[in-house]
Symmetry: C2
Subunit: 227 residues, 2 copies
Amino acid sequence: MFLKICLIKRKNITFAENFNTRNGMNKDISTEEKIKAAALQLFYKKGYAGTKTRDIADEAGINIALLNYYFRSKEKLFEIIMEETLHRIFRGVSALFDRKDLSIMEKLEGIACSYIDSLAENPNLPLFVLSEIQADATGFVKKNAFIQNFFKDKFGMDSAFMQEIKTEFNVDNPLQIVINLVALSVFPFVARPMFAILTNMNEEEMKQFMENRKKLIPKWIKCMLES
Amino acid sequence: MFLKICLIKRKNITFAENFNTRNGMNKDISTEEKIKAAALQLFYKKGYAGTKTRDIADEAGINIALLNYYFRSKEKLFEIIMEETLHRIFRGVSALFDRKDLSIMEKLEGIACSYIDSLAENPNLPLFVLSEIQADATGFVKKNAFIQNFFKDKFGMDSAFMQEIKTEFNVDNPLQIVINLVALSVFPFVARPMFAILTNMNEEEMKQFMENRKKLIPKWIKCMLES
DNA sequence: CATAAATTTAATCGAATGATTAATGAAAAG
DNA sequence: CTTTTCATTAATCATTCGATTAAATTTATG
């Protein structure tokens, strides 16, 4: 009963309204956003099971009850964050692929750059997404069905992009190349925690290392395509 | 008190003795191994926090108390599995690197092959290791300090191998190449759950895809080194 | 066989965890 | 100013979870 009322209430108040009326013109971040920001950091680092609602509340500087007041449950909060995360990832790639003025090589370069830039800001993101899928693949598919269609559209065997690669270069399986591109861009971030331990690199060295790859990866991919 | 006695007791019985006397000549797998096997599968898939002792017990077909009888706690069991996992990973690479009869390219080829072969049998392994490090890097380092020295020995900037690469080929940072080798070999397994969802590949197609890479990766690496 | 030791089980304890309630404080509306 | 609505808190409930105990069963030993 309580929950039903609560949710109906909140439906009438969009975030924008709340933001402008209640808290008075961006004065400080809304509670809802504070919770989401805290939850995101913790989920990214410790995963769903490893993150406790009390930790989120502490990190956000609020009461546990507020978390449920705004998001109903830990699981719902998680779903929202996962969904926003996925959209953030795919939106960037999507925009790049819709541009008609870029050649294949330019698009490949663009992917590497945009991945590295955005992951530099969220280094824990890819490992978070991948391990949650590993933990519960069926649940993930059920909740994020859109992804399959998206991928089929852009990277399916008979998509424009894949056909172009196949004809322009003489490659058997373009999927191998696409995987390589993502591997070279994303893996250093996935392996970053281990990499940091092994190499004793500091923050700055690590950043420079990744930065260098933005120019190197397209070179490597090009030489794969032409070999 | 109970625990102390329990542990002291168990120290006098090595696994081999137990195996041959108690259960009579390999007749069936020892309880200890059954628990470890079940725990490994679950830890690999769901991570430390996501795996419940009751699930391990169910999977192994035993009582929860037995888990603590043999391993004292969930955490100790986890540490054992993590340690064995790490040793399994590094032992293979180590053996390869100690061979004097192989050229650099042969070693690089060997790494790709051995990674792909062993990960084909434990596809969930890399994501497990990497995400546990992400969840608690300091704890990991404390418990597995040997890794740092190992890596410094084999892949440190002034190790024989790295120096060889630097002189034989004209590469600025050999670490970039090593990371690429690992990325190309390991990433497909890390991304496997997502990859499976996106491409709708079945088990057999996936296996063939990975198998093909064993020959492709050395080719790609070679062309990176020579470009 | 009888006794001791090792293994296994059922029952349960205490702490942690997700969620809820009822009360309080703050802001908006009339 | 009063009333209503929304936001926040402290306290607490119900479950889950890791761990332990004491008893039962099995296996080894003299």
